[in-house]
Amino acid sequence: MAIRNDPGATIRAGETLATSGFDLRNLSVPAILLIAFVGLLAACMTGALNLYMQTVLMFMGINIIMSTSLNLINGNMGEFACGHAAFMAVGAYVSSLVTVIMFTQSKFGAPLLPPELTLLAFPLALLIGSLAAALVGLLIAIPSFKTRGDYLAIITIAALYIVKSAIENIDAIGGARGFMGMRRVTNAMEQTLDLPWMVIWIFIGTVFTVWIIRRYVSSTYGKGVMAICQDEVAAEIMSVNTNHIKLVTFMLSSGLAGLAGGLFAHVLGYINPGSFTILKSTEALVMVYLGGMGSISGAVMSAMLFTLLLESLRFIIPWIDQLLHLIHVLPAGYEISQVWKWVLIPLLLILLMQFRPEGIMGNRELSDIFPRLRKFYKFK
């Protein structure tokens, strides 16, 4: 019988079965991460990375969290959710409220805890923010039992508007004026121990996110998500509790978006409902589809690429301008200003889609493209 590929080449039965026992490959990822982490810290402390670069890196991390977590719903589960910014907003506001109330003199009163505890409590505050976001995610997951596809897209957009409008209407957290005070919290961390703490937290948060999502989607449990994506009816009939899986997936994804929000709020030191609009969701969407639906490495890469592209255009556009003037293509009075940035970015993305209509990675991972990588590290 004719098979398209040589079937012999793909047998890896033994490999998959042999999951027990000590294996050096188990250590390669932690080792690489540790080296990266120490290197990053050193670069920040010595000033090899100035604050600007650090901030860009931090937003890159936040974008990675956003895109990998949204990828879970839009890529793996095949839904079209456009309300990711709402969860980010919830996470941002809740965790900021927690840290500000706990550790600073604010309009909510005197600090409840001494500033030395910030280091311990910060991850907790992030966790609380994430849980709150996950709870809001639950509210979206429930309609998703009955609704699919573009109807769900609307539910998520509506949720986004509702969250944003609700924040605008709560004057206690600043309403449209925004909410601040988080800088004092991050300062307290730095006073306790002089390290670039936000860089550290974001590094940890990013690694944590990718790690947790990897573990989820590589388990039989999490693969239910992919089954739902490809044929929900078959999944339900072949014993997958689709409602349960949807619920868990939505909550996981929105919780991680909440984590991104908490980190975002503490990097900026100031949040405003206007930061969590449909545009923010759009950016996350772009990163997911640019990376390739359902590919974690794709989502990570596209988030990095997108952030870098956005920032590098600050430099590239003036160069282009200079170059065009140098070769006298442009009249002297006319300047290519940064306004063109948002013309160039979508144009580039449109072009990219034309060449890779399945995103950078398609639905494959790095290990599928470079199978030899498997020699060096374990993907499970």
């Binding site: 019988m1 079937p7 793909t10 009939i237 072949m238």
Partner: protein
Amino acid sequence: MALLEMKNMTMRFGGLTAVSDFDLTFQGGEFMGLIGPNGAGKTTVFNVASGFYKPSQGNVVFKGKDTRGLKPHGVTALGVARTFQNIRLWHELSVLDNIRIAQHYRMGYNLMDCFLRTKRYKRAEAKIDSIAWQLLEQLDLKRYAEEKPNNLPYGLQRRVEIARALSVQPDLLLLDEPAAGLNSADVDGLIKLIRWIHKEFKLTIWMIEHQMTVVMSLCEYIKVIDFGRTIAEGTPSEIQQNPAVIKAYLGDSEI
């Protein structure tokens, strides 16, 4: 206790009655055929049995449990597995994953186990894996474990679908036109395979099929429905002689 009992089962869609007053009892171990003209309601009966439709009227009891209150995955967990008239594999997942995921109800670990890769997780995954590999071995699919179903010939896809249903470790297996789209030579292989499965796994099998060679050589007992009503039942030879069945279903094979 009977394995499956359907009593007075009626299924309506709006004004259309697809199945009416369907009665059936499985004691366990039978090989039953369900035939009838197109649109007679055969698939609908399967859909009710597998919990996908709730009957408009009547009872469906599986292993003493009323399945009307259960979601399809709950019915499957009780021990009903099926294949589909049009193949419904998860085409972007490997054959192995297809067979793994169908064991979802039996995972027995939770999200935390999944994140922390606890003992329980490892044990469960190992069990799932071993069942999957064993089935692949038994159905001679091992070579295609990492292949995507889309890339397999039609006949093999049918086989993968049967393997996936078996991985549920059901007591009752529903086969909806397993031979459709297979060529005559493959049909012979399929007949042997199904017969072997029936014996090896000691299953109750219920099959819909339009290819008479398959039905006649496999089924011990056949039920014929037309317009949702049972018009005849009996052994293969009885059915082949039954004038009502010939008139409504078998027809004249001269062309």
